[in-house]
């Protein structure tokens, strides 16, 4: 498949994530939308990694390691996303214990 398809797909996913963050009011769903943004980036990185590999292989049959850094990056993103989720869910639980709600509209107490 041409690389454009992957770029469009991940941009669409990324935009869905952004729209979700901006419009949804449930903290957990906002958080899921952020995860969607991160995962669309993962998809794009893998696609680019394969693209660079294909380009390099066309010129030099032995260049089999080109593009591995892109796939390595994906693992780092997964690890960081997991860390972020664990902290984020802990914060949401803490908020829920105090207010019995996970609604973001609640977050306007500081604007005075």
């Amino acid at each position: 498949m041409p690389i454009q398809y992957y770029i469009y797909l991940s941009l669409v996913l990324f935009s869905i994530g952004i729209i979700g963050v901006l419009t949804r009011r449930n903290a957990i769903i906002v958080f899921m939308c952020i995860e969607l943004m991160l995962n669309s980036v993962n998809l794009l990185l893998v696609a680019f990694s394969k693209m660079h590999l294909a380009f390099a292989m066309a010129n030099d049959k032995l260049a089999t390691t080109v593009g591995t850094d892109g796939q390595l990056f994906v693992f780092f993103i997964m690890v960081v996303a997991a860390a972020e989720v664990s902290v984020g869910l802990a914060i949401i639980v803490m908020l829920y214990r105090n207010t019995h709600s996970v609604d973001i509209n609640f977050l306007n107490r500081l604007k005075n």
Partner: protein
């Protein structure tokens, strides 16, 4: 490398000592000892001595500039722990963990001063931010703290998503995660030829870094988060972390700015003017000193952005000086603010009569923040603006900056006026003699750097 390893290890040590030792007041001494160890390790590195020799495969690049910034960040944290250690303990029931998180933040800071590629930039930013989300929500029963923490988390991970998209697009365009893409080919008319993927990636990266350092128009989370977080941690967030963010920002775009040509300066000057305008004008109308300091930190961010605008050697000296001056002064002001019973401007009325030493130190810190001569803040601002003049052109932006610095004098002096010229009985919690001495030392350091900025900068060259 030393600083990265030692700070991460110290974080683990602090966490375990929370289980091993029941004595809570021990923790701040342990943290101070750890910071001194970290300082020594970092200084050893500047003389080329390593704790462990690690091949970083060109992911990290250590140079004097970054190591010296580490020193400033560690010293600022040490002063912060010595002044406000007691208040960190009183935030919650697990003091050891707060210190552990502070060490993990420092680990992120030291990565950000030495990254040599977008992968380490991303990891550094995240290692720095994730502990901060927890510290912001440290006051678990307080709804404002909860709210600030969730807001910071959502905004922070949102900007991380944007940063990652930028990195992915740059990777697609250039095929590597390096930050030195080399000189691009010039087409007719001297316009560099770069892929549209790279350019859109750079713009997304720029936006996300603006988020992280709270430059306008991406600053909206800052006042709420700084206001809601426990004051001790606001002090840390607004100083060491913010300065490190700027350092990374500057390192990242040092070599990239050629790629974007003239558009880069236009984009940046828009952001600088907006940051100065919003920060300064909004700070004027604040009644709470804590919220005023949050807006003033946005305004100071505008000044630090000048280092990016100029991008020459003088700007490098400037950002070091600015980081030192701004961190010292803000830590000093916050240390006093934490002791106050009432955070509003009226709460400071008559502080000079009840606590003359505190009022004097606060005054010196505020003078430094507003950039009055004979304090460190003056030279910090001077170096920044001189760097822009040296870089050529754009004199108008310097004039605008000086005008906004004059506006900032107004709101800083309102606090001084409240302390000295208004009647009232400012209530403070118990002040120890050691705290007063520490505060006077900070004020002394500010004046010393203000008289002889070369004292600080000479270390940079030796």
């Amino acid at each position: 490398m030393n600083a990265i390893i030692v700070s991460a290890l110290m974080g683990v040590v602090m966490m375990l000592s929370g289980i091993l030792f029941q004595n809570k007041s021990l923790m701040k001494h342990l943290a101070a000892a750890g910071l001194i160890l970290l300082l020594v390790a970092n200084l050893l590195q500047s003389y080329g001595k390593y704790v462990i020799q690690v091949d970083t495969h060109n992911l990290l690049h250590f140079e004097q500039f970054g190591i010296f910034f580490n020193t400033i960040a560690i010293v600022a944290t040490l002063i912060y722990v010595l002044l406000s250690g007691k208040d960190i303990e009183n935030t919650g029931v697990h003091p050891a963990e707060y210190f552990a998180l502070v060490f993990f933040v420092l680990c992120g800071v030291t990565i950000l001063t030495s990254f040599n590629g977008l992968l380490m930039l991303f990891l550094g930013v995240e290692i720095m931010s994730i502990p901060l989300y927890i510290l912001t929500g440290a006051d678990k029963k307080n709804l404002k703290s909860n709210e600030a923490s969730l807001k910071y988390l959502l905004m922070g991970s949102f900007s991380t998503g944007i940063m990652l998209m930028g990195i992915a697009l740059i990777y697609g365009g250039s095929g590597s995660f390096g930050i030195n893409p080399g000189t691009p080919e010039l087409t007719v008319g001297g316009i560099p030829k770069v892929s549209y993927l790279t350019v859109s990636g750079l713009i997304l990266l720029f936006v996300s870094m603006c988020f992280k350092v709270s430059a306008a128009p991406f600053h909206f989370w800052t006042p709420d988060v700084y206001d809601g977080a426990p004051s001790v941690f606001t002090s840390f967030m607004a100083t060491v972390v913010k300065a490190a963010g700027f350092f990374a920002f500057m390192r990242l775009f040092e070599s990239q700015s050629d790629l974007m040509g003239a558009t880069w300066k236009i984009l940046l000057s828009f952001v600088i003017i907006a940051t100065l305008l919003i920060g300064n004008i909004t700070a004027v109308f604040q009644q709470s000193v804590k919220r005023m300091l949050a807006y003033s930190s946005i305004a100071q961010a505008g000044f630090m952005l000048f280092a990016l605008y100029a991008g020459n050697d003088l700007a490098k000296e400037g950002i070091l000086l600015y980081a030192a001056a701004y961190s010292l002064a803000t830590i000093g002001v916050f240390a006093v603010l934490i002791k106050m019973k009432d955070y509003t401007l009226d709460g400071f009325n008559g502080l000079a009569k009840t606590q003359p030493v505190l009022a004097l130190a606060t005054t010196i810190c505020l003078l430094s923040l507003s950039g009055i001569p004979l304090t460190a803040g003056f030279f910090a601002k001077y170096y920044m603006l001189a760097a822009v003049v040296k870089a050529g052109g754009a004199l108008w932006i310097v004039i605008v900056a000086v005008l906004f610095a004059a506006v900032s004098v107004y709101y800083y002096f309102r606090v001084i006026q409240a302390m000295y010229f208004k009647d009232g009985a400012a209530e403070t919690s118990e002040i120890t003699g050691g705290f007063k001495i520490g505060l006077l030392l900070v004020a002394g350091l500010i004046v010393l750097i203000g008289l002889l900025p070369s004292v600080l900068l000479n270390y940079f060259y030796f």
